[in-house]
């Protein structure tokens, strides 16, 4: 199987945390345990006085929702992301996505 990953167009990530709670529900993780954590960045920027960005980080607990994938479903985070700014797929394909998307990130959690 091709190596899979998560692509995040973080310019559109609103910090809503749906990915995190979806992940916790999917894996039955208690509070304190989660496969993806969202961090806020507030900083002075170049063209505007302040920038507000969010970046979700799929960590070691992320199994790319392998069970869902086997059943032909998107990962819980990708499905529920309110900004629809996440994609799941073969890394090779996601790199192409990244090439045309400024302010994006690609994760290969495993």
């Amino acid at each position: 199987m091709a190596k899979m990953g998560l692509f995040i167009n973080y310019d559109y990530c609103t910090g809503c945390q749906s990915c995190a709670v979806a992940c916790q529900q999917e894996h039955d993780f208690p509070a304190g345990k989660c496969g993806i954590t969202v961090t806020e960045y507030v900083y002075p920027a170049e063209k505007k006085p302040v920038a507000v960005d969010f970046l979700p980080f799929p960590n070691e607990l992320c199994d790319l929702c392998i069970r869902r994938h086997q059943m032909g479903e998107d990962p819980a985070c990708v499905k529920h992301c309110q900004a629809a700014c996440m994609m799941f797929g073969p890394l090779e394909q996601l790199v192409k996505e990244m090439e045309k998307t400024p302010r994006s990130a690609l994760f290969s959690p495993r």
């Binding site: 559109y12 709670v21 529900q25 509070a31 900083y43």
Partner: protein, 744 residues
């Protein structure tokens, strides 16, 4: 998706405790052996297209939380002692019936108030019970100036005879792919950071969807937010001055001839008088009032007016302006004079889907449900009707600031009881929260219907009735679109839905009550849509109004779909959009928009401003919590564990406070604890803090009341409201304060 064949999946609509919002997304409930095991967004629901917010996704933790109240309770100790004993539903209903009847016999039905909180399906059942009991006093108790959506609704009603909403394609199941739909070229996002929730019947991320499809943003917000930092123009406004900004933008658009002349000639009334009025608001003066650089006001007004279609999406700060109703009127004039009315991608007229009434939004709807005679009769005794003609003429709400004053004073007539339904007044919306606490303590009989104990139930309840989440109930919704139903898929303890509780009580209190059960009521109300509850359930719980229906856009004013007489035009006295409002004239409100300064601030109270130099903004929406709810839900609370206050780095330096330090926010009304978060999100002369904080993990009995007197920010927000119509002007975003250190 499910891994287990014994799991059943039920699509349903959301509009109740659980997620708590004002939205109508479709969610799929996964039920195994009668137990909810999972929730997922419904990809067939056009509202959310499979997406979900964290509050919906945490539903299992909410539904099965060990602190849920699962049986009726009666108070056995003193009020506030926190001692309750389980009783049966029959005992609970009997007690409520007996007490409510005896108050009605001795003092009249108006002596009981029926109090609700935020706008979700409770509005239908509580007004139903209130009218069947015969009380005129249905109220959002504590919400100073009814400053949540009602002022905006009033401003629109007085102008267009109808309500409007930004068009994100939500009226068509095909959404953005509908060939009739166009994405707005420009969206003014006025006083909101939309992503955190679905306020006012609008999925916040629809604005994000439009941005992806090319919409440019003008953000009007005192803070730096996700939205404002992605805007073409960010107008960083001084809180409470939105009215001046709207008038300044109208000034630019009118004086530069950027308005839609054909539309104005054909469809509006009073343009010349509006033109005359806006001359009082030249942009240099508006810049001074609002703290927004003049060139930005001019450029933003031009960008909006020169692009068509363009839309305005707005938030609750509009209502919390002084004269909130008038501010809403002025902002609605922007879309009216640019012809962005009921056009694809503009501001479309919004009516309850299929013409079905669930939660009555106007006097007309109340008359439709309860008849002219009863409505006329109740209008006479409603608190606020004599003082504010608009309270009498517009919606059927009692005026909240006057209600609490009357509970306290007992004049002009005494209030003896309160039916408080899913509304944590003391931990939530009540400005002057301590005063509300003291006044409500005087009541003879208080029923609290809720899902969890909270400061209000602890401090006041004689009887507590356990309510249900959206997964546990049959109910319905028509707040614009879609027409949707919730249907009961699980049972938790002995909990009942607000509708079930109130229909039972209504039958006990009114022998002529029209309905015996919820299915009967829903099917009767759905009959105008020619559909039944079961049919809606079977088609996935939602339906869109058919083409050609008066609740579906576009251009209905041209097609004669708005007026009762079937003629083209609007449902106003003149049949036109009344820029000079005849309705306001009849309600003794200035028919043209004007600006008034916030009650507290650098202009009105310079001495107070010297003592308390920070403008405190409260009430921004949170992804994790809906108002005072969800503090006990582990997946949510861990992501925002403490009530923080955002402080600009320069301000923090001035006060010598460090990031993470616990401090007080203080003014003459008292002081409230907050944890400092140093952030560039706020202006140096402002601070921002979340509202409605209490801690369910702390002791519930008095005097603690779950820490409400440590954390409830509304203790230091004054009342009454600051608005001559009676609607608007709650001072939730304009109160002055300072920071003080805890150990000094």
């Amino acid at each position: 998706m499910t891994y287990d064949k014994s799991v059943e999946v039920f699509p349903t609509t959301v509009w109740s405790a659980g997620a708590g919002c004002h939205g109508a997304c479709g969610q799929k409930l996964y039920v195994k052996d009668g137990k909810l095991i999972k929730i997922e967004g419904d990809e067939n629901a056009s509202w959310n297209q499979g997406r979900s917010c964290p509050r919906a996704l945490a539903l299992t933790q909410y539904v099965y939380h060990p602190d849920r109240i699962t049986t009726p309770l009666k108070r056995v100790g003193k009020r506030g002692e926190g001692k309750f004993e389980p009783i049966s539903w029959d005992q609970a209903f009997d007690t409520c019936e007996e007490k409510l009847k005896s108050i009605r016999d001795e003092f009249g039905a108006e002596s009981v108030v029926f109090a609700q909180g935020t706008g979700r399906d409770v509005g239908g059942p509580i007004s139903f019970l209130c009218y069947n009991y015969g009380s005129p006093n249905w109220v959002q108790l504590g919400l100073s100036g009814q400053s949540c959506y009602t002022p905006r609704l009033g401003g629109m009603k007085a102008t267009l005879g109808d309500f409007c909403v930004m068009d994100a394609g939500q009226f068509s199941a095909l959404r953005y792919d509908d060939p009739d739909y166009q994405v707005p070229k420009v969206i003014i996002v006025w006083g909101q950071n939309p992503p955190p929730t679905c306020s006012d019947g609008f999925f916040g991320h629809w604005v994000v969807d439009c941005m992806k499809r090319g919409s440019k943003i003008i953000s009007i917000d005192p803070r730096n937010t996700w939205m404002s930092t992605r805007a073409e123009y960010h107008l960083q406004i001084r809180p409470g001055t939105d009215g001046a900004l709207a008038l300044g933008m109208l000034n630019v658009i009118i004086n530069e001839g950027l308005y839609d002349k054909e539309f104005v000639d054909k469809w509006t009334y009073g343009f010349d008088r509006l033109k005359e009025r806006v001359q009082q608001y030249p942009t240099h003066k508006v810049a001074e009032i609002t703290w927004i650089p003049e060139h930005l006001i001019i450029e933003a007004a031009r960008l909006y007016a020169r692009n068509s279609p363009a839309a305005i999406h707005w938030g609750v700060p509009i209502d919390m302006n002084p004269e909130g109703t008038t501010v809403a009127q002025a902002i609605s004039h922007l879309w009216c004079i640019t012809g962005n009315v009921d056009n694809p991608g503009g501001n479309v007229i919004a009516r309850p889907s299929h013409g079905v009434t669930t939660y009555p939004y106007s006097t007309e709807e109340l008359v439709g449900l309860y008849g002219q005679d009863l409505v006329d009769k109740l209008n006479k005794a409603r608190i606020g009707c004599d003082t504010y003609p608009m309270v009498k003429g517009f919606r059927g709400w009692a005026q909240p600031d006057m209600v609490i004053d009357q509970i306290d004073s007992g004049t002009p007539y005494p209030i003896k009881g309160a039916w408080i339904q899913t509304a944590n007044i003391l931990g939530g919306q009540a400005a002057r929260a301590k005063f509300h606490y003291q006044a409500l303590k005087k009541l003879d009989f208080v029923v609290v219907v809720d899902l969890f104990h909270n400061p209000t139930s602890m401090a006041l309840a004689d009887i507590v009735l356990p309510a249900a989440t959206f997964a546990e109930k049959d109910s319905f919704r028509s707040w614009w679109v879609p027409l949707g139903v919730m249907h009961k898929t699980i049972q938790v303890g002995d909990c009942k839905s607000d509708w079930e509780i109130n229909i039972e009580m209504a039958n006990r209190l009114n022998p002529d009550c029209k309905y015996n059960n919820i299915k009967e009521l829903i099917n009767d109300r759905l009959s105008v849509a020619d559909i039944t509850f079961d049919e809606l359930v079977n088609q996935g719980s939602q339906a869109m109004p058919p083409e050609g229906h008066s609740s579906r856009p576009y251009y209905r004013y041209e097609k004669g779909l708005l007026r009762h007489d079937g003629k083209p035009g609007f449902t106003t006295e003149t049949g036109r959009i009344e820029l000079y409002s005849k309705a306001f004239e009849s309600w003794d409100v200035d028919p043209l928009p004007f600006y008034r300064e916030p009650a507290q601030g650098p202009v009105n109270t310079p001495e107070l401003y010297e003592k308390y130099p920070l403008i405190m903004i409260t009430g921004a929406r949170s992804h994790m919590f809906f108002h005072s709810e969800h503090r006990m839900i582990p997946w949510l609370r861990e992501k925002n564990p403490e009530p923080y206050v955002e402080v600009h780095p320069d301000t923090a330096k001035e006060y010598g406070v460090y990031d993470g330090e616990w401090i007080y926010l203080e003014n003459d009304m008292g002081k409230v604890k907050r944890k400092v978060r140093i952030s560039l999100r706020v202006h140096p002369q402002m601070i921002h803090t979340l509202h409605s904080w209490w801690k369910p993990e702390l002791k519930g009995s008095e005097p603690d009341l779950f820490g409400v007197w440590d954390y409830q920010i509304n203790q230091i927000i004054p009342g009454p409201q600051d608005s001559s119509s009676g609607f608007g002007g709650g001072q939730y975003k304009t109160t002055l304060c300072k920071l003080s250190r805890i150990n000094e």
